[in-house]
Amino acid sequence: MNTTLTHQSHTEVLVPPELEVVRMTKKFGHLTALDDVSLHLRPGTFHALLGENGAGKSTLVKCIMGFYRPDHGDVIVDRHSRTIDSPRDAHRYGIGMVYQHFTSVPAMTVAENLVLSRYETSNFINWKQELQALDTFMETAPFQVPLSTPVSQLAAGQKQKLEILKQIYLKARILILDEPTSVLTPQEADEVLGLLRETVTQGRLSVLIISHKFREVTAFCDEITVLRKGKFAGTGLVKNLSIADMSEMMMGERRQPKPVHKTTHLQQNPILQIQQLHAHKDNGAEALAGLSLTVQSGEILGIAGISGNGQRELVEVLAGQRPATQGQILVNSEVYRSTRAEMYRHRVYTLPEEPLRNACVPHMSVAENLALRTFDRPPQSKAGVWLVLKMIRQMAAGLIDTFKIKTPSAETPVGNLSGGNVQRTVLARELSSERIQLLIAANPCFGLDFAAVEDIHGQILAARNQNVAVLLVSEDLDELLKLADRITVMSEGRLVYESAIAEADFATIGRSMAGH
């Protein structure tokens, strides 16, 4: 029965429904995440929802999807007010959402995930029939993903395509995307958004996208709605707005990108030396294949590369989360094994990727997480045994203030903060020390808004200018070209390209990233 339905929907072109959000308010305790916000998504348009970290974008779309129950306000689909209590209700009105994190089951194949996502499956699955139906579906889909591969083996770009495909498979006419491109390379992002844009232009779909990237907004979107601190800050057609107008709506003030200022250091000495490092991936395959590099004080060494070429494992080895199987790491010419004592002695600080998983204890409060580096030393502790809670709270309050972490209180579990604010929390903890000597950063601006990116780039540069050695691993080539003094490319566990930033050649970097 389901298969016949699938066939039909491809032949008839339905106009997507019209979606309106009217005067919506949502409170979390004392914090008003959404305050009287309205939004109008016209049928067959590509609409961007913009705003700084913590502005309430995710909260708004989760209210539309029935994940949260708004305290006030209406969701109107095709001019009728609707009660949406669960994603399932939303699906009934043709609304589907792709979340900030992946929601496919890693241990299952693509086909299993697609079948599972369907709300009305028969109790027994006839795989022969299903696979046939899926093959026909894939033929007309905007992009293809291999059906029999387990999701855990897909690259990030393919996973994201699967998430979108899932919604199209469920016949969503309104697609809500929460930062869909943050896990993708620029090329992948352009491909995915370009194909969606075509579907929208054909009038088969409406898209509401949350993004921090102005480039994507100007290239693919028709209209924007902007939130600022939980309030409606403006709306308009993209063709009538400049990037400066949009960022003014977002931040309430006009701001120019800060120029990059690098001081030259007369005397530099090697801080981090990695010699012939080997390490394994989770599945035992080789992740690092004899990687060697040196980072001098007062320089930023950038490592570019497509994700999955050993960058994550390198950072994990340096952070002490993964044992090296061969080779050694020297910091200040001494062997470094990433123990807490060594980190303290050599003043090594790390901003790993996925900070909520790698650098936070999600159920512990923001204050406790901010104290993870220092809680066992005075003044936060007496004799390394007794914690001085007052000092911990005081320091947290100071850091929340200076790093502009948006949190209901210092006691809120860090897992409840918005993605950008988790990043800020870790950043605050790692950059707050004045004695920092080596900074290891992996994708530090992942999912951050324009202003925050500027801010963090400024912080990293300031550290460099104060003679800190910085190892910057990033999938964002623009970021590396802006910040790094020397740039290298990592491919299959080793460095395959190295050059000073002045002589760096974009084309060669691109080719080495692709493994040529």
Partner: protein
């Protein structure tokens, strides 16, 4: 004794017979635990469930004189314990392992308390299928008396594989066990799926208990399980959460258990206790062999042992 007539040949025969007899509780418990763990929860309490099942089966069989009523009652008793475990472990901030240990103590306590009066009387045993009728040799005939519970277990393994692959509920269980967030986003009720998986798994463990008291060794005593429920949990890891491999692993454990008695039956009594310890040594060896700090065990449900 007949085995002596076969001489050394009696050893493999005795082991084969012991494999099927001793493997039955391992098989049923491990399939139950496999189902439970696929949903992302651990139920260590199956040791207690096994004992309660054994006691209930024996008592009901004695009281009603119908062994099959005993089997059903054992399953139902298992479900009650499973329900308690499922309910407790799904409360916020409750740890599976802690509840599991509490349930071991609770389950065995209940079994010992209610089972006291049934240690002496003898209950009717489950009829066995005589598959050895073709042989004139009495010991071959004896060895091939197979319990219907063993056959049920053997058939259940491929059924469960099919269930996980080709039914909607099977996909739900795997989704909940591997990625609760994903399941939630699809509108699946995690609590419901886990509740049903744990209760169904405990039903099987209860029946595993029945096979102890109504088939082999076919008595009710307080030491009847001697940790088999816990070993079955280890066995699921060894089997990489695959029902068919649970079957093979159960046979291996059953065989290891039969080693001591088989050697004793031909007069080798030296190291009897050592051979009897074979299943425990096997459990330890498997744990050591499958542990690695550098690698995740492949096939493990993603949410197993996490707090959500």
């Amino acid at each position: 004794m007949a085995t002596e007539a076969l001489g050394w040949l009696g050893v493999p025969l005795a082991i084969a017979a012991g494999t099927m007899r001793g493997g039955t509780p391992f098989l049923l418990v491990s399939l139950g635990e496999c189902l439970t763990e696929k949903s992302g929860k651990i139920n260590l309490g199956l040791e207690g469930t096994l004992l309660t099942g054994a006691m209930t089966a024996y008592a009901v069989s004695y009281l009603t004189q119908s062994p099959w009523s005993g089997v059903i009652a054992a399953g139902l008793a298992g479900m009650v314990l499973g329900f308690i475990h499922a309910w407790l472990t799904q409360q916020p901030r409750v740890n599976d392992v802690a509840v599991g240990i509490a349930m071991i103590i609770f389950g065995s306590g209940i079994a010992f308390f209610l089972g006291k009066p049934f240690i002496q009387p003898s209950a009717p045993q489950l009829a066995t299928l005589a598959l050895g009728g073709w042989s004139a040799n009495a010991s071959v005939q004896e060895a091939l008396r197979i319990s219907p519970l063993f056959i049920i277990g053997v058939l259940l393994a491929p059924t469960l594989t099919w269930f996980f692959k080709s039914t909607r509920w099977g996909l739900f269980v795997r989704a909940v066990g591997d990625s609760p967030d994903a399941a939630l986003a699809m509108g699946i009720s995690i609590a419901k799926v886990r509740m049903l998986s744990i209760v169904a798994g405990s039903f099987l463990a209860g029946i595993g208990g029945a096979s102890l008291s109504l088939y082999y060794p076919g008595i009710w005593s307080e030491r009847i399980s001697s940790g088999q429920g816990l070993m079955a949990v280890a066995l699921v890891i060894f089997a990489r959460w695959q029902p068919i491999q649970c079957l093979y692993a159960s046979l291996l454990f059953g065989g290891a258990q039969a080693l001591g008695p088989a050697l004793q039956s031909i007069g080798i009594t030296q190291g009897y206790y050592l051979f009897n310890a074979a299943p425990y040594i096997l459990t330890l060896a498997i744990m050591i062999a499958t542990c690695s700090p550098n690698r995740k065990i492949s096939g493990a449900p993603g949410a197993l042992g996490t707090s959500n």
